[in-house]
């Protein structure tokens, strides 16, 4: 039963990643693209954790944590760049 639920969750988050990719290609503005990238990072973390459950190892948690941190920092950097034109002043 867990296998089946895992497959369902995998396909849901995979489809969500495709939606985000489509949003990045066809976004009406730059803030929407940044939002889509941020959502992509979150969906990617979900996929990593699901892969860890399927494999039965906890090795992927460090990777997920690193993904979360770099995703947050890059989103903040993008927003800073959009607002001021510089990231570090």
């Amino acid at each position: 039963m867990i296998e089946l639920a895992l497959t369902f969750a995998f396909s849901c988050f995979g489809l969500a990643l495709l939606f985000n990719l489509w949003r990045i290609v066809s976004a009406p503005g730059v803030p929407d693209r940044v939002l889509a990238l941020d959502t992509m990072v979150i969906n990617m973390i979900a996929l990593l954790v699901l892969y860890g459950i399927r494999q039965g190892t906890g090795v992927n948690f460090e990777a997920a944590l690193l993904f979360a941190m770099t995703g947050f920092v890059s989103t903040v950097a993008y927003c800073k760049f959009m607002l001021r034109g510089y990231i570090i002043e």
Partner: protein, 127 residues
């Protein structure tokens, strides 16, 4: 006991998957940027919270190797999601909404984010 945990984990995974796909679909479907902010920052965060709780239950009860990493990841995500949403909303306001179109604040002060308007947006106005 085993069946109950299996059902619990499966339900959590399915609900998390549905929340995740609803969040990303809302990003495509909702009409304007400020409403589009809602979908990924709320629905997707709940979705990943469900995945992490399912992972904790799985490793704690089925695989017998409980770890605290999931709590760390979910705490980090739940703390940073509102911050990124706030940043993106601010960027959107400053780039695409003119000051004259903002609703009145109802107090003596104007919108605080525009206090240093010239310094904030000067580099982008000429692009």
């Amino acid at each position: 006991m085993t069946l109950v945990t299996e059902i619990l984990i499966s339900v959590l995974l399915v609900v998390a998957g549905i929340f995740g796909i609803v969040g990303s679909f809302g990003l495509l479907k909702l009409p304007d940027p400020m409403t589009r902010l809602h979908a990924p920052t709320k629905a997707t965060t709940i979705g990943i919270g469900g995945v992490l709780i399912a992972s904790m239950l799985y490793f704690g009860l089925v695989a017998d190797s409980f770890s605290w990493h999931e709590i760390l990841i979910s705490l980090f995500l739940f703390l940073t999601a509102p911050i990124t949403a706030n940043f993106i909303a601010k960027a959107h306001l400053h780039r695409e909404v003119p000051v004259s179109e903002l609703p009145p604040t109802g107090t003596d002060r104007a919108w605080a984010t525009y206090d240093h308007d010239i310094a904030e947006t000067a580099p982008n106005r000429n692009l």
